[in-house]
């Protein structure tokens, strides 16, 4: 691909780009916040809520072990949700902007 000079400011102010920016920002921050909060609940729970973590729920398997395992499931789910959204929505929106990019603002 030969590199063309683009009018970046024009693309930036294009409503479609603004829409992509808005959607992406809120989605990404939401997921980031969720994953951070969920992750830090593990060391905090292990330190300050030991009685809860010690409750046996499945034979000898206690809340603590299930919670630690759930960290993996939550991380994978977040990754899956993001990639699904990005593949079906963000990529399509970006593609529309790329297709028109060299026409914008010229």
């Amino acid at each position: 691909m030969s590199k063309r000079e683009m009018n970046w400011a024009a693309i930036d102010t294009d409503p479609r780009f603004q829409e992509l920016h808005r959607k992406k920002t809120s989605f990404l921050w939401g997921l980031m916040l969720l994953s951070t909060v969920y992750y830090f609940m593990l060391p905090i729970g292990a330190a300050y809520f030991q009685d809860l973590f010690k409750i046996k729920v499945w034979g000898v398997v206690n809340v603590g072990i299930l919670f630690a395992l759930s960290e993996f499931v939550v991380a994978w789910t977040i990754a899956f949700v993001y990639s699904k959204k990005a593949n079906t929505e963000f990529d399509v929106m970006a593609q529309a902007i790329i297709a028109d990019a060299h026409k914008l603002g010229v």
């Binding site: 691909m1 590199k3 063309r4 683009m6 970046w8 400011a9 693309i11 930036d12 780009f17 992509l20 920016h21 992406k24 990404l28 997921l31 980031m32 994953s35 951070t36 992750y39 830090f40 593990l42 060391p43 905090i44 292990a46 330190a47 300050y48 030991q50 973590f53 010690k54 046996k56 499945w58 034979g59 000898v60 398997v61 206690n62 603590g64 072990i65 630690a68 395992l69 960290e71 993996f72 991380a75 994978w76 977040i78 990754a79 899956f80 993001y82 990639s83 990005a86 593949n87 990529d91 970006a94 902007i97 790329i98 990019a101």
Partner: protein, 671 residues
């Protein structure tokens, strides 16, 4: 290619020469040939990869980024291969085998870290970057200044990580098969140099993929063998683990006098509960921050995203990496608990106090034990995977440092971006050679040093310096050159400085008093009530009393020489052969302890302060992230706000559009 063959020959000669056989190691002498055979096969495979990769490595894009032709799935495996270092592969299984739940909890942060990489780093970096972290920062900031700082930070982070890998690897190979420390460091160094110098990123990538596949295969096999007798039921399996006497004995040992009032069942269950290893929750949170934010700032991880053809492929690669890395850590739960139940914590810690031998010993047991052929073949295989792990991780790190040196400093700053392809590739190869030889030298010099904290330090520096700079450059319009430079310098100096005054350093007074206790025993201690702390400040710095949990009364303990005399008396009257052997083993263990204490007493005699002139730690956490990460962010923000930088402002629109759309991103090579 003659040089390549020479290196291969030299490495093979080193590994097989009889002078390399030293006494000791987990593999018995009569089975060592098998270990070397497996090592030889793995070395041969990686050399073939290098030979193949070297033929297509001519341009800078081929050397640094494998021609951007690595697929998303391949890159996912390579990231896993790059990331699952010996510390996480052997170390976490070891922690679980010794401390149960806490070891498993420790592994979680290493996976969650990839959420940050996926959501905010991977795709934008692929869209605007070229070969290095410096390229990303130089996009809108002053190119020369930011490239110098980025290269310095890259080399600092990589050197810490590299030193930990070299020293850890040397010790590991010595423990496993008894090859001399220096020889294994040189062997690892030369092999890694061959991959990087001749095959560049392509060879490094495929060595990492090979290693990741071997690692996953080996773990799956072991977990299958450990879990299948229980019909793949989690409660039934864990019930067997905590019902084992060896596990119960370990918990009793860890709890000390508190164990006296607990039943066997309670002791076993305790293995699955928190608090046996990680005692300081604030330190945990600090480490968690460094992991979650540091991984995304690791130069060798960032660099992996330049090897794929597009941002979409970068996304795919993180998803695959998360599946492999996460899946692996779930497997370690079984490897660790399996080793605890079948091999026993006491035996694992007896060979390596950090527990690193849990995985290999479990493999040996599952194959049929120390005397069996299959058992030793399993052990040889796991040892070879460990070896491949070290080489693959080290190769990635060397490539990252060398690219910072050659691409950022030499081409970007000294040559002002005016260098021919040929010149650039030569610079890259020469830099790899320099960094590689440096790594070997540092590895040999650091023999016997405690380097465990260097990994945590590498993550802390990456999180406090690299991540704030990259993140704010990508997402904050007002971010500029002054902010980046100030933030990176202050962030990394703060992280390093805090570690220098933390409990990670060696404090002669503490070492001497511990050695004295070993030799002379301890008097009885009365029970102590808990002391409430005086706030967060006191938990972080030694300026006021810190909270202390209640302590139970402790009976007096005899010194090691006194214990030894008692055992010798017992030995004299023992009649049973098995009992005799056990006492002799205990005496040998005590002798080791005594020698170590005597060495410490001699080594630190007359010294009272650490390297930094402190008698005891001033900063009380082992991980500086809690303070240094916010500081790094704050400095980038403050210095950006008080200065103006026209270029940084003008380039914002272009950067923001490009990182989101991939317009004008570096394309894949077409052959």
């Amino acid at each position: 290619m003659r040089i390549l063959n020479t290196v291969a020959f030299f490495a093979a000669a080193l590994l097989s020469s009889s002078s390399a056989f030293a006494a000791g190691g987990a593999v018995a002498d009569e089975f060592k040939w098998m270990t070397f055979a497996v090592f030889g096969v793995i070395i041969a495979i990686t050399m073939a990869i290098t030979f193949w990769a070297a033929r297509t490595t001519h341009t800078t894009s081929e050397f640094y980024a494998a021609g951007r032709s690595v697929s998303g799935i391949q890159n996912g495996w390579a990231i896993a291969g790059d990331y699952l270092s010996a510390a996480s592969f052997l170390g976490i299984a070891g922690l679980i085998s010794l401390y149960g739940f806490d070891g498993f909890m420790y592994s979680v942060g290493w996976l969650v870290a990839y959420i940050t990489v996926l959501l905010v780093i991977a795709e934008p970096c692929r869209n605007i970057g070229k070969y290095t972290m410096g390229d990303i920062l130089a996009f809108r900031n002053d190119p020369k200044k930011t490239k110098v700082v980025a290269a310095l930070s890259t080399i600092t982070v990589s050197t810490f990580y590299l030193t930990a890998q070299m020293v850890g690897g040397g010790v590991l190979i010595k423990t496993l098969i008894g090859i001399d420390y220096e020889i294994s460091v040189i062997g690892v160094g030369l092999l890694m140099l061959a991959y990087v110098v001749f095959g560049g990123m392509k060879a490094t990538t495929w060595v990492q993929i090979t290693k990741a596949v071997l690692l996953v295969m080996a773990s799956l096999l072991l977990v299958f063998l450990v879990w299948s007798p229980y019909g793949f039921s989690l409660p039934a399996y864990l019930k067997a683990v905590i019902g084992d006497d060896k596990v119960i004995a370990q918990v009793a040992k860890l709890l000390g006098s508190a164990a006296a009032t607990m039943s066997k069942e309670e002791l076993g269950q305790r293995f699955l509960e928190p608090g046996l290893f990680l005692k300081n929750p604030i330190d945990q949170i600090s480490l968690g921050m460094a992991l979650v934010l540091g991984t995304a700032g690791m130069p060798h991880i960032l660099m992996r995203f330049f090897t794929v053809p597009s941002a979409q492929a970068a996304r795919t690669s993180v998803i695959w990496a998360m599946a492999i890395i996460g899946g692996f850590y779930v497997l370690t739960l079984f490897l660790g608990t399996g080793a605890a139940m079948l091999v026993g914590p006491a035996k694992i810690a007896g060979i390596d106090p950090g527990g690193n031998m849990a995985g290999p010993l479990l493999a040996q047991y599952l194959g049929g034990g120390a005397q069996s052929l299959l058992g030793n073949f399993f052990l040889a295989f796991v040892a070879a995977v460990a070896f491949a792990t070290i080489v693959a991780v080290v190769a990635g790190l060397v490539l990252a440092s060398a690219s910072a040196m050659a691409h950022d400093i030499y081409v970007g700053v000294i040559k002002g971006d005016r260098a021919s392809q040929k010149e650039q590739v030569v610079a890259a190869r020469v830099s790899s050679l320099i960094v590689g030889l440096m790594a070997i030298t540092v590895g040999i010099l650091a023999k016997g040093q405690n380097v465990a904290h260097l990994v945590a330090l590498a993550f802390a520096v990456a999180a406090s310096s690299n991540l704030p700079a990259v993140f704010l450059t990508l997402y904050w319009k007002k971010c500029n050159t002054t902010g980046i430079i100030a933030g990176m310098l202050i962030g990394s100096v703060a992280a390093i400085g805090l570690v220098m005054i933390s409990p990670n350093m060696t404090y002669p007074k503490a070492v001497l008093s511990a050695a004295k206790k070993v030799m002379e025993g301890e008097p009885a201690v009365e029970a102590k009530a808990a002391i409430p702390g005086e706030g967060l400040k006191c938990e972080l710095f030694a300026v006021c009393p810190k909270a202390e949990p209640a302590k139970l009364a402790q009976a007096a303990k005899p010194g090691a020489p006194e214990k030894k005399a008692g055992l010798q008396a017992k030995l004299a009257i023992a009649t049973d052969a098995a009992e005799k052997a056990k006492i002799e083993k205990d005496i040998a263990g005590l002798d080791k302890t005594i020698t170590k204490a005597e060495d410490d007493l001699k080594k630190f005699a007359g010294q009272t302060t650490s390297m930094m002139g402190l008698e005891k730690p001033f900063f009380l956490l082992k991980n500086p992230g809690l303070l240094s990460i916010p500081l790094g962010f704050l400095c980038v923000i403050l210095f950006s706000l008080v200065t103006r930088d026209k270029r940084a402002e003008e380039m914002w629109d272009e950067l923001y559009v490009r990182q989101n759309t991939g317009i004008n991103a570096e394309g894949a090579n077409v052959h």
